[in-house]
């Protein structure tokens, strides 16, 4: 059936003639969708012979579709696991594109300032061990804020998402309790709290539940002017998430050759600790060499010209050295 369709498509393409444009199909993560769609439409404007379709179906579905070979490239917020790579017939290269950060947002009656969260306190809240805003550990980290005697309600994502992955990845690194009981993933078994659907669901619940705390993407918090707190990083400084502190998280991280690296809880002094790359998944040895070359040109363009437009959409750009390294690897590995 599919073969017959392909033959039909080929005949159609031949009859239309050499003017026909090539379409690259991609699928995956929804977090970078706004910047990807801007990139791809901009690229199409400059290169009218290439049309790129990107479907934001979720990281999990993106990985599955690349493995099955139904798309030319995939995209994911969490790197593929060793098991997934072992099970996949298609060899892929992870190419980091932009950076995202996740911020703790809260609704504490009577508190309007920026709350400082030491890692153990953040983990304690999400583990259900710290249950009241008047807890001594919070007061100790925030001597100038007077917390009310109010129960804490934890709000988390109910849909599987890269945001949850980054947040639980961070909690797993800073708390052994968390990594032993809950672990990291796009969906986890949350010890406490209620689930909201999407960033907007979590933000809506935080807004309507006094005493609640949750996590949303930095972009979402910036665009919707949501108050969020700062988090203490590995070098002991309280850092509030911003585009600069997110990019700083990726600087000075030892980059493995396959780019599958978690940059939560990084060493840098100005680094915001709950940040992550998002990746394109590029098959290293595709059957269609012409398409492969087009895809390489596209990624080359995204990581050079494209990086200049990411801040306008509140994404943090890659550090220069990471982009250069990714492009080198792309040239060497994708044939």
């Amino acid at each position: 059936m599919i073969r017959a369709l392909r033959v039909l498509l080929c005949i159609f393409a031949l009859t239309v003639g050499v003017l026909a444009q090539t379409t690259l199909n991609g699928a995956g993560a929804s977090f970078p969708y706004p910047i990807y769609s801007k990139w791809f439409s901009e690229y199409h404007n400059q290169h009218s012979d290439v049309q790129i379709n990107y479907q934001s179906v979720g990281s999990g579905a993106g990985i599955r579709q690349v493995q099955a070979g139904t798309v030319d490239f995939g995209a994911t917020d969490g790197p593929m696991t060793d098991e997934q790579i072992a099970a996949s017939k298609v060899r892929v290269l992870h190419v980091p594109t932009v950076l995202g950060a996740v911020v703790p947002a809260y609704n504490i009656p009577g508190v309007s300032g920026e709350v400082k969260f030491p890692p153990d306190v953040l983990a304690g809240i999400f583990l259900g061990k710290i249950t009241n805003w008047s807890d001594a550990t919070l007061a100790k980290a925030n001597p100038d804020i007077k917390f009310p005697n109010q129960n804490i309600t934890v709000v988390h994502r109910s849909d599987g998402s890269g945001t949850s992955y980054i947040f639980t990845d961070y909690l797993s690194k800073i708390s052994s309790d968390w990594s032993n009981t809950t672990g990291k993933g796009t969906s986890v078994k949350w010890p406490v709290g209620v689930g909201g659907k999407g960033n907007e669901g979590v933000a809506g619940m935080i807004r309507s539940l006094p005493g609640s705390i949750g996590y949303v993407e930095l972009i979402y918090a910036l665009q919707n002017k949501i108050n969020y707190g700062s988090v203490k990083n590995k070098s002991g400084a309280f850092v509030k998430a911003s585009l600069e502190s997110t990019t700083a998280a990726a600087q000075g991280v030892k980059m493995p050759p396959d780019f599958r690296v978690s940059i939560t809880d990084p060493p840098g002094k100005n680094a915001y600790p709950i940040a992550s790359f998002t990746w394109l998944l590029i098959p290293t040895n595709p059957a269609d060499k012409k398409k492969a070359q087009m895809l390489k040109d596209l990624v080359q363009w995204c990581l050079t010209t494209g990086e200049a437009m990411v801040t306008s959409l509140s994404y943090a750009p890659l550090p220069k050295e990471v982009a250069d390294k990714a492009l080198d690897t792309l040239k060497q590995q994708v044939k």
Binding site: V57, G58, S59, G60, A61, I63, R64, T81, Q84, N151, T153, S158, D159, G160, S161, G162, T182, G183, K184, G185, T186, S187, V188, K189, W190, G193, V194, G195, G196, K197, G201, G204, M205, S208, L209
Partner: protein
Amino acid sequence: MAHSPNPVNPSDPMEPAQKPVTTIPTLAQAATERKTVAFTSALDRIRKTRPRSSKIPDSVFRLLILLTAASVFAIVVFIVWELVDKSRLSLHQFGLGFFYGRDWDPVNDQYGALPFVYGTLVSSFLALLIAVPLSVGVAVYVTEMCPIRLRSIISFLVELLAAIPSVIYGLWAIFVLAPLLRDRVQPLLAKTLGWTGLFTGPMYGIGMLAAGIILAIMIVPIIASITREVLSAVPQNQREAVLALGATRWEMIRMGVLRNARIGIVGAIILGLGRALGETMAVTMVIGNRPEISKSLFAPAYTMASVIANEFSEATGDLYLSSLVQIGLALFLVTLIVNALARLLVWSITGGTAGRVRA
């Protein structure tokens, strides 16, 4: 009993023409006779004018109709087969324990469906509990007591409720219903009915209660509009007969109308229940999405449709995906069982005979 000698219609001993002249035929009998005569003459006309070859369209038509009927059967079989096939991995791993397992932990690949089955059933029955009296009340008012001008307005509004997309209901529930529940309704319920254990614990606003209420609002239009149709199908002379026996208006509605229409009403309720069981978007926005079984209606819960919608796109592991498909299978089975029970209920009401008024 003597057989009628009439060769045209030997099986009808009540043929008025064969009766002794002394019996005066009733109006109804005369009408039947007129109809029969008209019918047979029409049939004759058709037989005479019709060419023989037109039997072929008849058989083609029969085949087509048979195919459409069979397609429903084929679709159901195909769905079940797909569900079982795609959930083979988790069926193999967990066996039937999947359906009563309480743990849902994607990180450690442990899956159990019970909290979702519980959430779906309880939220749906809560919705019925609220929606059935409300919608039957609306239907009775519209058909029996309402001024004609108001009637079309109310019917229009009820049908308008059915046309609102469920995501709108969900948003409304988050921003209006949940704060209202949290600040006003839940404290009151906790104070007055807290001893039942159904209304205890922290008051988030969102949770099982909010899901039940929003579902109730969504199924009221379905139940109300079908019930209205059923009630207006009850023959007028039933009402007149009950009133003539000296019944009050309430007794007339109870004995003359509702009693006659009960099967149609049960049918309407089943349709409403079907929507409640499968509703995804509005429920997932307010139920709190927590796979736990809690007696309190204030506590967050989770439904089968919601977990599939929430987790399918980001599910990576094979076992994880397979378990989500098996949740779909569980939803299918639950719907099947609930429908079968409802059918049994109808049978037990009617004692096996067909109802007088159907939807």
